[in-house]
Amino acid sequence: MTILVGEETKLVVQGITGREGQTHTLAMLKYGTNVVAGVTPGKSGEKVDRVPVYDSVRRAKSSHPEINASIIFVPAQFAADAVYEAIDSGIDLIVEITEHVPVHDSIKFINYARGRRVTIIGPNCPGLISPSESKVGIMPGHIFSKGQVGMVSRSGTLTYEIAWVLTKAGLGQSTAVGIGGDPIIGRDVLEIVDMFEKDPGTSSIVAIGEIGGDAEERLAQKVKRDGLKKPMVAFIAGREAPPGKRMGHAGAIISMGAGTAKSKIDALESAGVKVAVLPSEIPSLIRSSGK
């Protein structure tokens, strides 16, 4: 089993004829993802590889009622509109890859989606992959391998780094979820950990955090309060980050003294979660904490 994406995922790509949209549609098809349709207004009738392009999500959905997920590659200033279009067309899972989406836009569409029980991943995220089943994102698929480790991360390449370490150590992944590096994101680490806890295909969890915000501290609080059914190993990037500086991600900033790596590591450790100092330690920490 996997979470959020899997063999059952039938994908529409919004912004399919753009440069990024095309590149990653081809990569997803190659990986085996079920990409059934694409949308770019004014480009209906075209094709990207074998995928038909429609003028609107509504039209794509009426020709392919099986669509249940969308991945969005449109530019930041149109991203919110694309999300609303997906939500109003009845799509349950929306993966917003787009970077630089204004916070006031994302905070609105995330609240709108919540009210309608729609899952949004992102914005500014690499997407999700359930190895050998479905890749709904921009990650290099070959780094991942099928298995039982659930991964959740605020960072793209760091996820690949750690997935690579896991894969080399023979620890495959159930699903890896890149939740995104923005301050406001659709699903946060707590919610994804919760899904992994409930997923029978996941036997352990790797949570990759970074400086900024208090999601990791809240995760620690939750673990302290409710416990964990599955072993979890955390990794927190940014121990060397100075305060007040944005470290690449919009959300990665220590502001007013809050959101330091130390605060997160201390909180997680005091909740009994093992925190790796080096990526290479993660496989053994998982194995040693296995039930």
Partner: protein, 376 residues
């Protein structure tokens, strides 16, 4: 993107939020004229975008126009916290009966807008949060619906206001929220929002706004260079790179913010001192890599540089080509350690090998090697 106090004040003023009388001045003569017009003691505030400008001497009182002239003569042109003061805001000195705090910010955890208010303003909110957390009222605002009148009224009641002060507060709250929304702010506050001198009505003595960087395209009037950046940081930002200068001696370049942060941590773990954070971003082409390497090498006293690439969208051959070109052109012969795996790995390594550049597989081994070299 922090905006200047005088810009925030203008937004407040045009929304109808009472602010003390005053004006922006660029010369001591202008300051004198404005202070004369006000006809009362004034406060002279340096318009620089750094925190703590008050403690650093950037805000000064003056009891009459000639004192204002003298004070501003010293301030204008002075350098405070590394930033040159080119303009000052001259405002009437208001003696508050009581100081409140009112602000709006983005609540990351709850994905809502937070309204934060306190009956004890004037001091730093963090400090207040530590010393008297029960004096801070916080309410989540639904960003889709916006601020309702009743929410503002609740805030007024909870921080102990009543009567006309309460209804003034509600009105200011609504105006501040509408500015917050309109300019895509991620922080907007007035601290203190004062219950003012003689009349007892509310006045926003200070106004602070930060506009979301991602939304600046909708507000080009607030696009400005971050004054707190170092010259190198400015250059890197202009080149579209995410770059933060640090005080170590090992240059760090990588692709992806999280990976670069982790690279810094691993280098430090092995005893090294990173000289910078440099994220080339995803999918960099040879040109981007070239630019990144060049900027990294501009920093003085580098002992070694670690280029850490995990190719996903980024292709290793592009990275190798950019690196080779930059190193060829550069006179700075700092040793490079390259770790490069992923997409087009073989081709990339071939290019590096041809130019005699060594590479490693493991990020940790490479980090250790970089640190070792930096200490030789």
């Amino acid at each position: 993107m922090k905006i200047h106090e005088y810009q925030a004040r203008e937004l407040f003023q045009s929304a109808g939020i009472p602010v003390p009388r005053g004006e922006l001045c660029r010369t001591p003569e202008e300051v004198k004229k404005v202070a004369t017009g006000i006809g009362k003691p004034v406060v002279i505030k340096s318009q620089i975008l750094v925190a703590g400008r008050g403690k650093a001497g950037g805000i000064k009182p003056a009891s009459d126009p000639s004192e204002a002239y003298e004070v501003s003569k010293n301030l204008l042109g002075a350098t405070i916290k590394g930033i040159k003061v080119t303009s000052v805001l001259v405002v009437e000195a208001v003696k508050p009966q009581k100081e409140l705090y009112l602000g709006f910010t983005v609540d990351r955890a709850r994905r809502k807008i937070a309204l934060i208010a306190s009956g004890e303003g004037g001091i730093d909110l963090e400090e207040l949060a530590r010393s008297k957390p029960d004096k801070i009222f916080r309410r989540e605002i639904d960003p889709v619906m916006g601020l309702h009148g009743f929410e503002a009224r609740d805030a007024a009641v909870e921080i102990g206001l009543a009567g006309k002060t309460a209804s003034d507060f509600v009105s200011i709250c609504q105006k501040m929220y509408s500015i917050f929304e309109r300019v895509d702010a991620d922080l907007l506050e007035s601290n203190p929002l004062a219950i003012g001198g003689e009349t007892g009505s509310l006045v926003a003595l200070d106004s602070r706004i930060t506009v979301d960087d991602n939304a600046i395209f909708r507000h080009p009037e607030y696009q400005q260079v971050d004054e707190e950046l170092t010259p190198l940081e400015r250059e890197a930002t202009a080149a579209g790179l995410a770059y933060v200068q640090l005080d170590g001696d090992i240059g760090i370049i990588g692709n992806g913010a999280g990976l670069v942060m982790a690279t810094l941590d691993v280098v430090a773990h092995f005893g090294g001192r990173p000289a910078n954070f440099l994220d080339m971003g995803g999918g960099s082409k040879a040109d981007d890599v070239y630019k990144a390497v060049k900027i990294c090498l501009e920093q003085e006293n580098l002992k070694s540089v670690f280029l850490n690439v995990l190719g996903g969208i980024t292709k290793c051959d592009e990275v190798a080509n950019g690196l080779v070109r930059a190193l060829k052109e550069s006179s700075n012969k700092v040793p490079f350690v390259v770790r490069m795996v992923g997409t087009n790995e073989e081709e990339g390594r071939r290019i590096l090998a041809e130019s005699g550049i060594a590479y490693l597989d493991s990020m940790e081994e490479a980090a250790e090697a970089t640190v070792r070299i930096s200490k030789q």
